[in-house]
Subunit: 478 residues, 2 copies
């Protein structure tokens, strides 16, 4: 009920205002001593390189959009240093199997192409990997459930760049190379040309995040952003776009971001060059996944009942699916999968569809023209405490619009990627209250029912989360 039209807020979320940041003391002795960061981020691989997720509660509090400060980061090495004054002169190429190879500067990307802005959720393929590492150590480090973030990205459709360069007959892949200087060379990966050209997939070459020039950790000054696919394909510090008839041969493309078949051990994998190169095991589209924001790990809820009304605890969390698919339902069980309840889902992404088609944001047209879903969604469900106090655990699963549901059992693999079994909270009844225990805590942080069960001798792969089963299933006679 404002009396001024100019003060009417837009019908869609805007990013949280990030707190001021500065170079942190622990970064001073690293090659990243020029990068300003938020001290709340949880370091997953020691001090350097910088691989971080925000505290899950902080991610929740920021809402649909994540600030520059708290957006998760996956860096393989030192962050390239690019001054603000150098941004517009950043050079990159579109080359390879094209009719008109281009070497251009960022200023031309801004001047000569249609600028677009839209929200995109990025997810690290390692999100929730800590759970895999507790079952059996993988070759990857321990992400908790906060390797996921959403921002408003501004840039140019990769399809527009490619169309101008003109892919030749036989072109099938787009290789993307960054400027980072790594032990195994530069970081390069590839996606299919058909995906890059598909407007529904929304692949973008971006130079702004939440209306600001990219933060160094997020690819300053230019990166690819690929909605619905694992973050590992969204190459940062972008230098070369190479059209090709074959996928990338880069070490990071072959030996990272794959889900090898579950029976292959880390030891065996060392001798399986052909298996690593099998494109069927490469991850592109995200799988369907979800996690719980509320309650936080070890949060307690009092069982002291009010006399007037039944007390209800409201669970909240996020969910996402890959490849442009929407999460179509979110379900919750108090009896380990025998019966399920339906949670509410909200899709804040759809609020951007309420803006006029002419809307511009951060210098780009707010482009919600596609049918596909590029962002996470939020779910919630209220459950009476009287039911919770009689339950041993509460489990959550998402189903996507192709009717594929998160699996009950973990799919363990050598790299520990794409971990997406039902998200399980154990309920402890303690001194007049309920305490909720998450599966794990990120990095080397202790806590969670998985470590506890494992230490107690439980087999986490027994199909019952390592605990003894209740109910009607009986042990077989020997």
């Amino acid at each position: 009920s404002s009396d001024s039209l100019t003060s009417t807020p837009p019908p869609y979320p805007l990013p949280p205002k990030p707190r001021p940041i500065s170079v942190l003391p622990e970064d001073l002795k690293t090659p990243d001593n020029h990068v300003e960061r938020d001290a709340r981020l949880i370091r997953l691989t020691g001090i350097h390189p910088f691989n971080v997720e925000p505290p899950l509660s902080a991610l929740y509090e920021e809402g649909f959009l994540t600030s520059r400060n708290l957006h998760y980061v996956r860096n393989h090495g030192p962050v390239p240093r690019v001054e603000d004054s150098e941004v517009l002169d950043w050079e990159f190429t579109v080359e390879g199997l094209v009719d008109r190879p281009v070497s251009m500067k960022l200023r031309h990307l801004i001047m000569d192409y249609k600028q677009v802005t839209y929200p995109i959720t990025l997810v690290c393929a390692g999100n929730r990997r800590k759970e895999q590492n507790v079952v059996r150590k993988t070759k990857g480090f321990s992400w908790g459930a906060a390797g996921v973030s959403t921002a408003l990205w501004t840039g140019v459709a990769l399809a527009d760049l490619l169309a101008r360069a003109g892919p030749k007959r036989g072109a099938r892949y787009v290789l993307l190379e960054g400027a980072d200087n790594l032990p195994k060379g530069s970081y390069e990966t590839s996606i299919k040309l058909a995906w890059a050209m598909d407007p529904e997939r929304g692949v973008m070459v971006a130079y702004k995040m939440n209306g600001e020039l990219l933060h160094p950790d997020h690819g300053k000054p230019l990166r690819v952003v690929i909605p619905g696919q694992i973050g590992g394909r969204s190459v940062k510090w972008l230098k070369r776009i190479i059209v090709s008839s074959t996928p990338s041969e880069n070490w990071y493309h072959i030996y990272d971001n794959r889900v090898l078949p579950t029976m292959i051990t880390p030891e065996e994998s060392a001798n399986l060059a052909e298996t690593w190169r099998d494109e069927r095991y490469a991850i592109y589209d995200l799988n369907t996944n979800s996690a719980v924001f509320c309650p936080a790990h070890n949060e307690t809820v009092s069982l002291m009942a009010s006399e007037e009304e039944e007390e209800v605890y409201k669970f909240k969390g996020y969910a996402y699916a890959g490849g442009g698919k929407r999460v179509s339902r979110m379900e919750v069980t108090l009896d380990q999968g025998r019966t399920w309840m339906l949670a509410n889902i909200t899709y804040p992404e759809d609020q951007y569809r309420l803006a006029p088609e002419t809307e511009t944001l951060y210098g780009g047209q707010l482009d919600m023209s596609r049918e596909s879903c590029l962002c996470w969604c939020f779910w919630d469900i209220g459950i009476p405490l009287s039911r919770l106090e009689n339950a041993k655990d509460v489990l959550f699963r998402a189903m996507d619009e192709a009717m594929m549901v998160q699996p009950r059992d973990m799919y363990w693999s050598v790299l520990g990627m794409m971990n997406n079994p039902w998200f399980r909270l154990v309920i402890h009844r303690e001194a007049g209250s309920l305490r909720f225990e998450h599966p794990t805590q990120p990095a080397l942080m202790a806590g969670g029912w998985m470590e506890r069960v494992k230490k107690a001798g439980g087999n986490l792969a027994n199909g019952f989360w390592g605990e003894k089963v209740w109910g009607e299933v009986e042990a077989a006679k020997p």
Copy 2:
């Protein structure tokens, strides 16, 4: 090593030659008394309307392509009668939210547009529904695991027709209406316009199947074929293509081909008009699924060991994924999911990619230009009898390229659609041989471990296929 080039077979599969067929006695008293059919097809809904699947073994024997005779059929009512002499004069429209509405004859579709041919697997959304019906009766009839068939389809890209008509601003859906005359009106459904326009999805308007004019049960003279989506969207006897800003309101679009949340009972569903209309519960892309061809139900294998070599039984079956995705792996367990083996997969679809780009087939260009996967694949795995005789059962699951895996547990729903839990064979050791028991048999045919376990008082929804569990899981103390 033929000495004549003209006799060189193509590098890709051609359809099996169908046996001669005639009008069957049981159809004479029905409105379908003009339709010639193969007597081997298994009727799932009595004599009429005609809803059939082939015997699973016959489907297997035909190989990658299914003949006109054995392709599964889902008819909601009488089959429209169209004489061969009327085919070219069949009229249909492209109308609605378009700049240039068209009313055209099939002869113009053939003369004025680019003709294409490619293999497409169609799957009924009810495939494997019998398993759901054994757990709890759904509103759908009992498909076995043979509601899936593959053919070479010839026609025109729906995108080409739509592009010529010119969708207007605001157009988001394509409604497809057939000529069938049903209790609730004509059959109409809709898909998203973005899918229809996407060359990777390969949506076709087809008038030939395996090189012949369409068989009446398959839509003579004209139908839509939508790869990667449930068969229920591939409208037969096509009369109207209507571009729209909203999805179909047709009874068959709203009250068929949906997966309601699992907790909704048939009784409750009667009063949930809003739930039925929730597009999130409508099925479009197929989910990932698989089944076993060999062994057949109740097939036995002798345990008499040869002295020279270890005896191995070779399991074989099919798998598919939806939305153009490929099945990326097929896994098999002898210990109810604790450990898995990897099966071999073959993709006969890829053999068509070996043909020259100029290849024509049945009057259409053999079009394998897309990256997406439109067909089923076959898998096999040899397992030593010595291991099988010590196992209680053998379970199979497929994973797709988005790393989504078939679920361990059934997702029961009111309409019983998209049933895709791990496919389980029970192994019985009997008199020096092993007998393999499938989950069910189609229609009202008796047999299968599910009925047996249920009759014995087992709870099929207990998370262990209704049987007592073995191994390390113990019953909880009360």
